[in-house]
């Protein structure tokens, strides 16, 4: 009982996400039903029924070119190119490449962010000197700085990971700065009574107490790492990632809008996927600190 309840609690973000997704898809088709192009569907789900529907209104944004039917986009995943690859395998391969760079960027960015926060927490004067620079670094458009990093480093995929790092370290730094100060002040007195060193205080009090805050930073950083990775691929014309597929989709938009939508779907699913992964890890790491309301105190 207790076990299945805790599994259910851990799956809750996923269930919520799927519900929202279904609602969005229904809303999408509802708009098309009210103000899209004429529907003409033969043999619905193999039942032999043919649907013809002329929406009463005409929304300029809801034409079949700008807002294709959900099933048309889904069908695009199965479409084959000249080499015989289906769209879904091509996009998944690209997503995997982007994910790898994003993961490296996330790992580097999180490490740098945490080390920076640990340094700033211990050396007050540095916090005042460095924090404005850290904030300023994030006001420069990533699209402007990505070519500098990727082309400047001449290291293709690693340059991409660095762009990802650049977007990742900031939320982690800010969250860790707050988290490392979020301990119970009485716990600090206790550590003082033990004559604990700074190192011991960091390891046994500051870091464990900072975890809920850190994970908030990680939740923001993970999808940002994916975005950073895609943006990083653009200037160097790296062929293997999602950026190449998005550009292809844009070029053929008026001929095959479904392809761009398919790439958008894969990109956002990747972002949501890494977010849910971080949320899942958080639930597991903090499992003992969760206080289920039903538990006896």
């Amino acid at each position: 009982m207790a076990r299945s309840a805790s599994v259910r609690r851990r799956l809750r973000p996923l269930v919520g996400f799927l519900t929202v997704l279904v609602v969005l898809l229904i809303a999408w088709e509802a708009i098309k039903f009210i103000g899209g192009d004429t529907w003409h569907i033969e043999n619905v789900l193999g039942t032999g029924v043919t649907i013809d529907h002329d929406p009463p209104l005409k929304f300029a944004f809801a034409t079949d070119v700008k807002l294709p039917h959900v099933w048309a986009i889904a069908g695009e995943f199965g479409a084959q190119d000249a080499v015989g690859d289906t769209t879904v395998t091509r996009l998944l391969r690209a997503a995997l490449f982007t994910l790898r760079n994003a993961a490296i960027g996330f790992a580097l960015g999180s490490t740098i962010g945490m080390l920076l926060a640990i340094l700033l927490v211990h050396v007050r004067i540095l916090e005042r000197a460095i924090l404005p620079l850290v904030v300023a670094s994030q006001t420069i458009p990533i699209i402007a700085i990505a070519p500098l990093i990727v082309i400047g480093l001449k290291a293709d995929w690693f340059g991409v990971a660095i762009v990802s790092t650049y977007l990742t370290f900031f939320p982690v730094t800010i969250a860790a700065l707050r988290g490392l100060r979020a301990f119970d002040p009485r716990a600090m007195e206790l550590m003082r009574s033990y004559a604990a060193s700074r190192w011991a205080i960091l390891r046994k009090l500051r870091l464990p107490a900072s975890r809920p805050y850190l994970f908030t930073g990680f939740r923001i950083a993970a999808p940002a790492a994916v975005v950073g990775s895609i943006v990083g691929e653009l200037p160097s014309l790296i062929q293997d990632g999602l950026a190449r597929q998005i550009i292809t989709g844009m070029q053929y938009y008026s001929l095959n809008a479904e392809y761009l939508w398919a790439t958008i779907a894969v990109s956002s699913l990747l972002g949501i996927g890494v977010y849910l992964l971080v949320a899942g890890v958080e639930n597991w790491v903090l499992r003992h600190e969760r206080r289920p309301e039903a538990a006896l105190a």
């Binding site: 009485r186 716990a187 007195e189 006896l296 105190a297």
Partner: protein, 290 residues
């Protein structure tokens, strides 16, 4: 730690200590928390500090523990300056709140001070188990703090403080947040622990009953400025139990402490501790009639 040399000299020696709080030289916020404190505590004593809020009893405890420095005067613990004693981990501290780490099990919490003092893993586990047995929580070693009641959490905090075998145990209203029933049971348990460990205890409380029942000496303090107004020897038999609270001598001592506190009230106009007073009178009435 309780060998012949420490028996000979006091565990705590406070001489001419004062403590002034002023927020960065602002005259208006200057508070004389303590003035002219002299107190000597021998090894094996159980000394309670009692007084209305604002009398500086907690501040005095924090001074002994070197959690805050005195403005003037000297504090010697185990024959060394208080700071040295803290660095040598000569004392254990228990606060009003248990202050347990949520992310550690009960045993992990008890092991915390041992980890910091660099005790080996095997020894840590052994000592933690031993002290959890002392506070009768052996069965809860693997539990997390939030799974325990308030009284049990405070017993974990006591086990944690005792884990390093300190010569001195500093307790700041450790049972203040507990209900009366739990508090009385904790008092008995604390006396048992005190007997078995032979440690010296300095205990801050605002309950007269608790102070008299537990202590060998009660230090009565008064506020504005915080000072020691009288020290009352509690010459009850050392062996104390439920019946101790019904001894005639116990009532005399409770009255003596109350009158010492009352004397302060008259001069300072404070009425803190009224609830205890009422409860005390009721208990006394019942005891005499029964």
């Amino acid at each position: 730690m309780t060998n012949e040399t420490t028996q000979a000299r006091p565990v705590v020696d406070i001489a001419g200590v004062s403590k002034v709080f002023d927020a960065r030289g602002q005259r208006a916020t200057r508070v004389e928390a303590l003035v002219g404190i002299d107190l000597s505590i021998a090894a094996g004593e159980f000394v309670s500090l009692i007084g209305p809020s604002g009398c500086g009893k907690s501040t005095l405890l924090r001074l002994i523990g070197d959690l805050t420095p005195p403005t003037s005067g000297t504090i010697t613990v185990n024959g060394k300056p208080a700071e040295r004693a803290r660095r040598d981990r000569d004392y254990g501290m228990v606060f009003q709140a248990p202050v347990l780490f949520d992310w550690r099990t009960v045993q992990g919490n008890v092991e915390l001070p041992l980890e910091i003092s660099g005790t080996s893993k095997a020894q840590r586990a052994e000592r933690a188990k031993e002290h959890l047995r002392l506070v009768e929580l052996s069965d809860f070693a693997g539990h997390y703090p939030w799974q325990l009641s308030g009284g049990m959490q405070q017993r974990v905090a006591i086990a944690r403080a005792l884990a390093v075998d300190p010569a001195l145990l500093l307790m700041d209203e450790p049972f203040g947040a507990l209900d009366e029933m739990t508090r009385e049971r904790m008092n008995l348990e604390l006396l048992k622990i005190w007997e078995r460990t032979e440690t010296t205890i300095v205990f801050v409380t605002h309950s007269i009953a608790e102070a008299v029942f537990l202590s060998t000496r009660v230090v009565v303090m008064s506020p504005r400025p915080g000072r020691i107004s009288s020290i009352i020897d509690i010459d009850l038999p050392r062996e104390r139990n439920v019946e101790t609270r019904e001894l005639e001598q116990y009532f005399h001592l409770v009255t003596a402490v109350r009158e010492a506190l009352r004397g302060d009230e008259r001069s300072a106009g404070s009425t803190d501790g009224d609830d205890d007073d009422l409860a005390e009178r009721r208990v006394a009435a019942e005891g005499l009639s029964g």
